[in-house]
Amino acid sequence: MRLMSEKKRNSPLLHIATPFIMLALCTGITAAALIKPYDKLKMYLNIAFMDTLKSEPGGDASGLVIKDNKIIEDYSGKTSSTGEVIRPKFGELFAMLKSEAFDVDVPVYWGSGSELLELGACQSTGSAVPGTEGNAVISAHVDTFFSGLDKLDIGDKITLNTNYGEFTYIVKELIEFKATNGKYVLPTEDTRLTLYTCKKDILGGSDQRFGVICELTESSFYTEAGGDAQ
């Protein structure tokens, strides 16, 4: 009886079925585990292989002059909660946006347009310069620099480094709106940072936008020379 039961357990069927069970398990786990890295890899490649020379400074026929400033990111000198901002020129790299949710440090250009959006995020010139009162509105492509925007949640920290100070924000509200609805990009009385991007649409361009509204929690204006530019 015992011998029969053992024979059953050692049956060829079990020996043959086991590799298939393992294959199914491993394929499933691998597929699930690779979704996130695949998305990240796609974003890295999108960023790396953009043709940055399309908007090379100095000679563009469109008249757009792009200036890639070095942004101070490790300032070690004294700071003050108030100070002077430096208003950037159109096409100028003036800030670095950082958040745990983003896989890359996002360069922020002053202005907008397809050429600037290929280089980083863009801040609308009609919005408030970081460090001043009002609504600072920044947007970027969803498949590159703002691919991690949907990962932001209420309470998440966002840092904006400029050459005149560091500004820290906390996500207060998650927003969704139509491209034609200007409600969230209008000037405000309070000091806030609005980040938004397009909703992914496999059929092409989407007129839906989503993003976050962040509240300013800390302003550190640089009061003396210090730190190395990136």
Binding site: R2, L3, E6, R9, N10, L14, H15, T18, P19, I21, M22, L23, L25, C26, T27, I29, T30, Y44, L45, I47, A48, F49, M50, D51, T52, L53, E56, P57, G58, G59, D60, A61, D103, V104, D105, P107
Partner: protein, 299 residues
């Protein structure tokens, strides 16, 4: 495989072994193939330097109408060997940054390019009676900076500077830097898993061979099938990268890494099949023993 509990434990251990084997294959492939020497050798084998030179010529030719600077001002100052030096330096810098977080002092000497532009601007100013004032200096500096940037960008066939400036290399570097320790850790984990399998199957030691064989077979299959699909369908070749030199370098590197991973996977599959054959032979030998012996085994 006598008790259901030991079967489940062995199954779980084998599934973990599959992933440890896959990770080990992946890290070993990266350790062996993702080196500056291999990347430079690939760039040389694929003749990327002449491609870059052609791209530069075509780029500056297109720009002549808007910049007013003739193509030969740039091309006469940039030789194929200089392109090679800049390209190789950028590859080394990228890997150095991943390893240590630092880069070398800068790209190869482009003074000849600066001189060529300076000479052109100077002749142009003399011929047209233009004063060499601040405006002249700014225009010259702008043209030199622009030319340097273009040459540097075009030579960066693996897009190391782009990946570095966006913080990607820094993140990849965290793993790349400690690759040796990660590989050692994975070997350790594999040894522990084998020990655990031996302990689990201590009453029927030969089944360790079965579980390890199946683990290798599945790890090999999970590695071989996607690699074969990627290579067979020419997945990397379908990428729309505009710069021919970047396209060549990138697709060749990716195809090379995938081929290496597939070769490792096939080798692991072969090891798995060999283990299963040995297990089968042992099993069939046992089945041919006398009934008395069988009753002893079942006790």
């Amino acid at each position: 495989m006598k008790k259901p509990s030991s079967y489940i434990v062995s199954l779980v251990l084998s599934v973990i072994t599959v992933f440890v084997t896959l990770a080990l294959m992946g890290t070993m492939v990266v350790f062996i193939h993702a080196t500056p020497e291999k990347a430079i050798s690939l760039a040389q084998d694929k003749q990327t330097a002449p491609m870059i030179l052609n791209e530069l010529e075509s780029y500056f030719k297109d720009r002549t109408s808007s910049s007013g600077i003739p193509t030969n001002v740039y091309t006469d100052a940039v030789s194929e060997s200089l392109i090679r030096d800049i390209r190789d330096q950028q590859i080394r810098d990228g890997f150095m940054f991943m390893k240590s977080g630092n880069t070398s002092d800068g790209i190869a000497d482009l003074d000849k390019l600066d001189e060529s532009l300076e000479q052109f601007f100077s002749s142009y100013a003399s011929e047209n009676g233009i004063e060499k004032d601040k405006k002249y200096d700014t225009a010259l500096e702008k043209a030199q900076t622009s030319a340097r940037k273009v040459v540097s960008e075009k030579c960066d066939i693996y897009k190391m500077s782009s990946l570095r400036s966006h913080g990607v290399l820094k993140k990849v570097g965290v793993i790349y830097r400690d690759l040796v320790y990660i590989i050692a850790g994975l070997f350790g984990a594999a040894a522990v898993l084998i020990l655990l399998l031996i302990l689990t199957c201590r009453k029927e030691k030969r089944s360790v061979l079965y579980w390890l064989g199946v683990s290798c077979l599945i790890a090999g299959a999970v590695g071989t099938i996607p690699s074969a699909i990627l290579l067979g369908t020419g997945y990397f070749n379908s990428f729309s990268i505009k710069q021919p030199s970047v396209f060549t370098a990138y697709t060749s590197a990716m195809n090379g890494l995938t081929s290496a991973f597939m070769a490792a996977s096939i080798a692991v599959t072969a090891v798995g099949i060999a283990m299963l054959i040995v297990y089968g032979v042992l099993l069939s030998k046992e089945k041919t023993v006398t009934p008395t012996d069988v009753s002893n085994v079942s006790k």
